[in-house]
Symmetry: C2
Subunit: 291 residues, 2 copies
């Protein structure tokens, strides 16, 4: 596709996934979008961020256009503070694209230079939800934006065409119910429920990270193996069969002890518990924005 000016490259640099989009303006038409996403656990190999950014940019055939950056990777335990994390992420962006025009998005909705961003780490940390919310607000002026990701869930009120969230930082948002640290793939099962049903009994769960919510949804058929984009806890394939083995370990059992029906009950209990947690948070956020 021909384009005369180099497109803008948008980044969401997370602790578990890095996402990039190339946006090309076309006179008289909506912009053309091309996106790529790659699993990338920054805590396993922080040094690999620079080549990961370059690889995604190359895959999008990005030219020398400007970069717009949001991040959540600064929360990774690879960094002692958000300040250090923001600095490291911006170091990687600047090393990957030397001399490029880089704008870093703030929770308040501005783009700032990397130098400014480094001086206000709490304003550029975890700002991706605010970007999504402001974009949605342009099209749907009154709504509740619910974004359930692999790891966490955003519940953002939009009122009168404005993003109307109560919390700005991650801790404020965890307190307000606007951020729920539960997702459809990476969340360990013991973070979702402390008990599940096994046969007729309620059974407490183990706490070893034996299974993820992605295993629950592999089992129930709501997640396909291609979308199980993390390393499984046991290192085995992201398939329904192995998900069943991982779910058996949630109650310290194995597939010689538990049949398909028993695994299904465990999966259902975890799925219902997770849904209940998200529903409760939606209720809290809605209660502040009646009507």
């Amino acid at each position: 596709m021909p384009h005369t000016t180099p497109g803008v490259l948008g980044w969401d640099i997370g602790g578990a996934n890095v996402k990039a989009v190339r946006l090309d303006g076309r006179p008289g038409q909506p912009p053309a979008l091309h996106s790529r996403s790659t699993p990338f656990e920054i805590q396993r190999d922080p040094e690999a961020l620079v080549p990961t950014l370059r690889r995604l940019a190359a895959a999008l055939e990005a030219g020398g256009g400007p970069h717009a950056v949001t991040m959540t990777a600064e929360l990774s335990q690879a960094f002692r503070t958000k300040r250090e994390g923001v600095g490291a992420v911006l170091d990687a962006v600047e090393a990957a694209f030397p001399g490029a025009d880089v704008g870093v998005y703030t929770v308040g909705g501005r783009f700032v230079t990397p130098a400014v961003a480094r001086s206000i780490p709490l304003e550029v940390a975890a700002s991706n939800w605010a970007a999504t919310a402001r974009l949605v607000a342009r099209f749907v002026p009154d709504c509740l934006l619910i974004d359930i990701g692999t790891t966490s869930t955003d519940i953002i009120p939009i009122a009168g065409g404005e993003m109307a969230a109560q919390g700005r930082t991650d801790p404020e948002r965890l307190a307000s119910g606007e951020l729920v640290y539960t997702g459809a793939l990476r969340t360990p099962c013991e973070a979702v429920a402390s008990e599940v049903s096994v046969g007729r009994a309620r059974c407490a769960v183990s706490a070893e990270g034996f299974a993820l919510m992605g295993d629950v949804y592999l089992w129930t058929g709501r997640l396909s193996p291609e979308d199980y984009t993390v390393r499984a806890p046991d290192g085995r394939p992201g398939t329904r069969e192995f998900a069943g083995e991982r779910l058996a370990r949630v109650v310290c059992a194995d597939r010689e002890m538990l049949d398909d029906e028993a695994i299904g009950r465990i999966a259902d209990a975890l799925s219902e518990a997770q849904t209940g947690t998200v529903v409760a948070a939606i209720g809290r956020v809605r209660a502040r924005h009646p009507g």
Copy 2:
């Protein structure tokens, strides 16, 4: 210390720690005991079990005496089933001590040969609590045995000099309240509480394994750094300072955002929640054994 017959070597081969004791009978006196324990995460390196066993035996200056084995390592996700895990652990014991006399303890209280043990994996899996309980029962015929370890807690009723547990396998014990999968060191904080206090607000917790209950007790001073025998989630030292950084991440914050008082409130909330879980399980077990 001189001894004429080679002592018995007792083993508890867990998924996170391997413990060994040498017991030497002395005519007319209580037996002499020498013990060693070493952190050993079997899922990280199953092949290392053989040299670990040999190293502990050498440290205890064990001779060619018999071996008495209990295990919990069979639950590790290194193995697809308990049967496979029991087999692998016994393979390691037999490789470490070729030709030795090995007795494997069953939950029912017998010692069986490795060959028999391999054929009844559910009876030799996770039998260590039953050994402890039967020993305690000899000295305290009516009591509740409470053993809070790094990873899990056993609550075993002993009545009329007999071990009186309702559950035998791990899943049965999780259902009966006799096994609570919560411990003083390795348990991730999000498995203990879904909310903590931050300032005046209740705040939901993250689910990334950012902090362990060992960090809570490092912070409150109830665990000393020498006893923080696991790799910390962030790979940094097991000290109060770094425990504070890990606890800040429980609410997606950092030490620039949260002062000592705020960290203390998070630690207290988690400690109270864990205590509450254990107390509730004690109540359930006691209710079945009134008086």
